[in-house]
Amino acid sequence: MRARSIPYLLIAPSLGFLTVLFFVPLVQTIALAFQADGIWSTANFSRMAGDLNFTDAVVNTFEIVIIVVPLQLLLALGMAMLLQHVRGGRDIVLWIWSIPLGISDLAAGLVWLAILTDKGYLNTILLGLGVLSGPQSWLSYETPVTLLAAIVVAELWRATAIVLVILVAGVQLVPKEYGEAAEVFGATPWQRFTRVTLPLLKPSIQTALVLRTVLAFEMFAIVLSIGGRNFPVLVSEAFNWQYNQQDYGVAAAYAVIVMGVSLAATLIYLWVLRTPAAQR
């Protein structure tokens, strides 16, 4: 009897912790979002949807996620494959690649801001090379394409490492024998990658995609430091309503939207990338 209860006792603290610090605030946020002046209503959502930045925030957020997440997956897959063939100094390469993981979002955003402002490093170099004749703005509201590109590059730089780390761990779990067997039967390297490695990596890819997509929907500090007012996203709008307008209801409505979108994305990944029971 006692032995049977031990596992539950051991997980009880973490469950309690999550209930108090995650589940309760979650319910409170949802309640806050659906209340106005103490009455249940959708007023906060209509104010949110009626705001001039709402459409931009939705479009911008999805734009970033749709561009950044697939690129990161491709990059990380490529890097993980390259890493397999590195003999000496593999740990050092991996360590260097994961440096951005240790840097805070805000610091990363400020680094890229320093590179891309009018008098930043990029313009200085381009001026020195004679490519530009005067300072060129990259991040203003008049240059939405380069602004988007800058945020994409900064996100790629900062967060590809997390996908890479998950995939490297997954690649190491793939038994060498499968690849060698395929080689014996005359499979080309590309066939071995698409037919053997990729299917076996699917659980890792699923984990990486879920994690990355949810984090991309929550991206905030990088966008705020590079784009500021020019590039609203869902979380930055939630922040504005909370701290600048001090309207907690609308801020909560944004939070609910972000949560709903993240949840939907997770479910889609779990469904699309599921491993059939027979293959488990």
Partner: protein, 430 residues
């Protein structure tokens, strides 16, 4: 752990000692309660430098602005009065008026007549009543700062200290023509104070009000003007929070901001910059004073001492000491000493010229919105974003934003504040 406990213990002990010391001195000294100069360095400068020559002992105590009316009310209800003089911003003193907590200071105001406190500031101290309820103490404001290189492009016959918005536009476009760059700048970044420019400068100058004429034809023309002016504005303005940085780097040659947010530029390179008043529009030179005043609380233990303290704080030499040590500027006529920091002097002169201008039209910070000041600011920033950055027609945008503004005013039931005419009830958009 033990260290933490020891640290906590000693902190509590020191705090206890300090409280006891404060209690002891309260018996003899005057109590001066202030919502301004709260940071410890500034409070120490107040105690050690500014109050140094006052013949009596003054207990300088600070209080968070929202706590001020709470404390005054508590003393009223408890019947125990400890505070002699209150120092606070205009908008922070306002809630004390309905509490009937302030002693009329008309006698003192008459005595200070020769000090040269500008009439518009003195009038603010009446809160729209017939009595003087506070005496102006010190001030800050928003100013324009320009690089000296821009001066040759000033339109002919223009006086930089009495510029109009039209002249500003031709000045900026002349610079743009010559240099090929847009060098006018505004603090429209996420943490910038751009909304104050609309609430305290542009709207009053063009419409003579803020809330009442929000959607008037004058406002429509004003937004059309500003959208045109924006063609000479550096597009990075939507990222600027403090104008001193782009001014120092040369990205902006003419900028508008709160004096505290350009002071670094003026202090670092006083020879490179000029500071001057904000421009004027058809209804006058709208500007937003940041004015702190001194009031005496009814039931103050030492009424004469309180009056003497206000008199002392409004002496030219005390006002100069205040400017020198904490960067707030004189409200009285005070000749700034030649050894004053030249950057500080530039700022002080600009403020002095702005509020003594013949067409000066002071516009106050919103009053009575409480926690919802941010929503008020958003109305102006949204209008700006839609009309200027997205190029929508001012009429449609103003009508749309009027709905938000009306709802906000009704829900907070705020009365009109200067420069809007006093309203019997809720301030409403016409």
């Amino acid at each position: 752990m033990r260290n933490v406990l020891a640290w906590l213990g000693s902190t509590l002990l020191i705090a206890g000692l300090l409280t006891t010391a404060a209690d002891a001195s309260r018996a003899e000294g005057l109590v001066f309660l202030s919502t301004q100069l709260r940071p410890i360095e500034e409070a120490q400068k107040m105690r050690k430098a500014i109050l140094k020559d006052f013949p009596r002992e003054v207990d300088y105590v600070t209080e968070q602005p929202p706590q001020l009316p709470v404390r005054i009310k508590a003393e009223q209800q408890g019947g125990t009065h400890t505070i002699d003089v209150v120092g606070a911003l205009h908008g922070e003193l306002q809630p004390l008026v309905p509490l009937d907590a302030l002693v009329p200071l008309d006698g003192l105001a008459g005595k200070l007549n020769g000090r040269g406190i500008p009439d518009p500031l003195m009038t603010l101290g009446k809160f729209g009543t017939a009595r003087q309820l506070y005496i102006p103490w010190m001030q800050a404001s928003y100013i324009m700062v320009a690089n000296r290189e821009t001066l040759p492009y000033l339109p002919g016959g223009a006086d930089i200290n009495a510029l109009s918005y039209d002249q500003l536009a031709s000045w900026a476009s002349a610079i743009q023509e010559k240099t090929g760059k847009r060098l006018l700048g505004f603090p429209a970044g996420p943490q910038g104070l751009m909304h104050r420019f609309f609430e305290g400068f542009l709207y009053p100058s063009y419409t003579g009000g803020v809330v009442v004429p929000f959607r008037s034809e004058a406002a429509e023309a004003m937004w059309a003007y500003f959208a045109l002016l924006w063609k000479s504005v550096n597009p990075n303005s939507t990222s600027y929070n403090f104008m001193q940085e782009p001014l120092l780097s040369g990205d902006v040659w003419i900028g508008f901001d709160h004096i505290a947010r350009v002071l670094d530029a003026l202090r670092q390179k006083p020879d490179e910059f000029v500071a001057f008043p904000a421009p004027s529009g058809p209804k006058g030179r709208g500007y937003m004073p940041v004015l702190a005043g001194l009031a005496v609380v009814k039931g103050a233990p030492d009424m004469n001492g309180a009056m003497a303290l206000i008199d002392y704080l409004d002496r030219p030499e005390t006002q100069i000491a205040t400017a020198r040590s904490v960067g707030f500027f004189p409200v009285v006529k005070a000749d700034l000493p030649p050894d004053l920091d030249p950057g500080l002097r530039l700022g002080a002169n600009a403020i002095e010229k702005m509020q003594s201008a013949k067409d000066a039209l002071p516009a106050l910070l919103p009053i009575g919105l409480g926690q919802r000041g941010g929503e008020f600011d958003k109305v102006f920033m949204d209008t700006f974003q839609l009309v200027v950055l997205r190029g929508q027609k001012p009429r449609a945008v103003l009508d749309r934003e009027t709905e938000t503004l009306k709802r906000l005013m009704t829900e907070t039931s705020a009365s009109c504040w200067q420069p809007d005419p006093p309203s019997p009830g809720v301030c409403q958009v016409q």
